[in-house]
Amino acid sequence: MSDTAEGPGAAASVPSRGTATRRAQYERATRRRSTLVAATSTVVVVALVIVVVPLAPGWHNVRASFFDGHTFRQSFPKLLDPFLLNLKIFAICAPCIVALGMLIAMARNVRSPALFPLKLFATIYTDVVRGVPVILWITLIGFGVPGLFHERHWYTKAVVWGGAALVLCYSAYVAEVFRAGIESVHESQRAASRSLGLSSGQTMRSVVLPQAVRRVVPPLMNDMVSLQKDVALVSIIGPVEALRRANVLVQKSFNFTPLVAAAVLFLCVSIPLTRFTDHLLTRERRRTTGTAVA
């Protein structure tokens, strides 16, 4: 890579005003080539799927029972109302999860010996809750707690306790996210704050938490995306949300297309949510490292 190796072409590498430098030309060519490769491989893969899958011997039956246009058009509107219940459960659970998760994370971070039982409880809580499958918690709590009451009230409804189970599970996961964020704030920030005379509580509120929360927004959004889907798990204890309704439609029509319609509905919410998370991640990376690495 010495200068002499370039030979007669070396003169062309001197940048001149108006025309691109050799380096810029090379980079543009590389960019163009990778776009071309990406486009070609996408077309090939999609074409293969379109060509190969229908070649399967059972394709005709599968298409009729999963991708039936008529059933889709009929079932899709019927799923909208139940899906609203999904969104409601999500909208109520999400803020509760964030608040409870934050409280548990702070309980795990207390340093005062008097509050040790709180710390112990928070630690056991996150360990036990995360150690059992979400679907099992929903069944246990959704069926168990209403059994405590003989009469029916709003608070004996399965949907309430299904939601409570979701809050229980997700707050444990979210607490770990917050805890990681709190621990990622450098000790020198605490030292600076304490040296100004702020108490440990004031330091937590004004200095540590605001920085911690900013850092954990992307992983927090990841949890929210998966919560949005896991709301469907509540269907196993009774409430008629989108998945349960789709199952009912499947029984009626002897066709699986309603499930595909439900999947489309979930995608309508989770894809924008995921894209938004990616956007936040990229922005955070650019902010902390100065440049985004491809």
Partner: protein, 246 residues
């Protein structure tokens, strides 16, 4: 404000960092701590600010023992300003909020009063146009000057400066040292750890040479830098001169 250290002892896991350190800083005096990295300068400053509990001895502020076990450290720290090598500004707050946070939360000043006072200080040190900038948008020298202003906003009776120019490139060191000169001219009591020997010689009323947690020599700068009484001091300064830092 008078600061007295009496036979202060501190060790980290068996390693002695300060052994029998006794030192007086009188009101309006500037005392410089010099010595190699790891000689205990930073630990000494952190102990004075109660960021590190001491093992033995006493630290007196106006004849009151502030190292008393069980004593609430917050009111003590509010009287002592501390500036760190790595600035430690709060990155999520702009300059003005960095400065007004403690006066509002600790001294219970009104937000508007704290702002006015902060703007006054920023103006005095040529930083008024940076009031709404975030730390990441400032140069190292500007960040360190803001950190000093943040400490000053608490109207401290003494300032502890912990190698505040060590992280700066040589061009930016000057503006920070100029600010410290102004503080001295204003009569601020200061205890500072520094690697800038020329600056120590210029600004200090007395210089303390630390080695392995002990004060080897404590004397006026002319004496320390021209005719040190101890061999260790002489060796240290010879090394400093050899490295071109004096």
């Amino acid at each position: 404000m008078k600061l007295q250290l009496q036979q202060v002892r501190k060790s980290f896991g068996g390693k002695v960092v300060l052994s029998d350190v006794s030192l007086d800083v009188d009101a309006h005096q500037v005392v410089c701590l010099i010595g190699a990295s790891g000689s205990g300068k930073s630990t000494l400053l952190r102990c004075v600010n109660l960021l590190e509990p001491i093992d033995d001895g006493a630290i007196l502020l106006d004849e009151v023992d502030i190292s008393e076990p069980g004593l609430d450290p917050d009111p003590v720290r509010a009287r002592i300003g501390m500036v760190f090598q790595s600035y430690n500004l709060f990155p999520h707050m702009n300059v003005l909020r960095n400065i007004t946070l403690a006066p509002v939360k600790v001294l219970r000043r009104r937000q508007t009063d704290a702002r006015d006072a902060a703007m006054d200080l920023l103006g005095r040190f040529g930083l008024a146009d940076k009031a709404h900038a975030y730390p990441d948008q400032l140069s190292g020298g500007q960040q360190q000057r803001v950190a000093i202003v943040r400490a000053l906003a608490m109207e401290p009776e003494i300032m502890l400066l912990d190698e505040i120019t060590a992280a700066l490139d040589p061009v930016l060191v000057g503006e920070v040292l100029e600010l410290v000169r102004e503080l001295r001219a204003g009569g601020m009591t200061m205890l500072l750890a520094t690697h800038e020997m020329g600056f120590a010689r210029e600004i200090a009323d007395s210089v303390c040479f630390l080695q392995e947690g002990r004060i080897v020599e404590h004397a006026p700068p002319e004496q320390i830098f021209t005719m040190p009484a101890h061999d260790e001091t002489r060796e240290f300064l010879a090394r400093v001169i050899a490295s071109g830092r004096l």
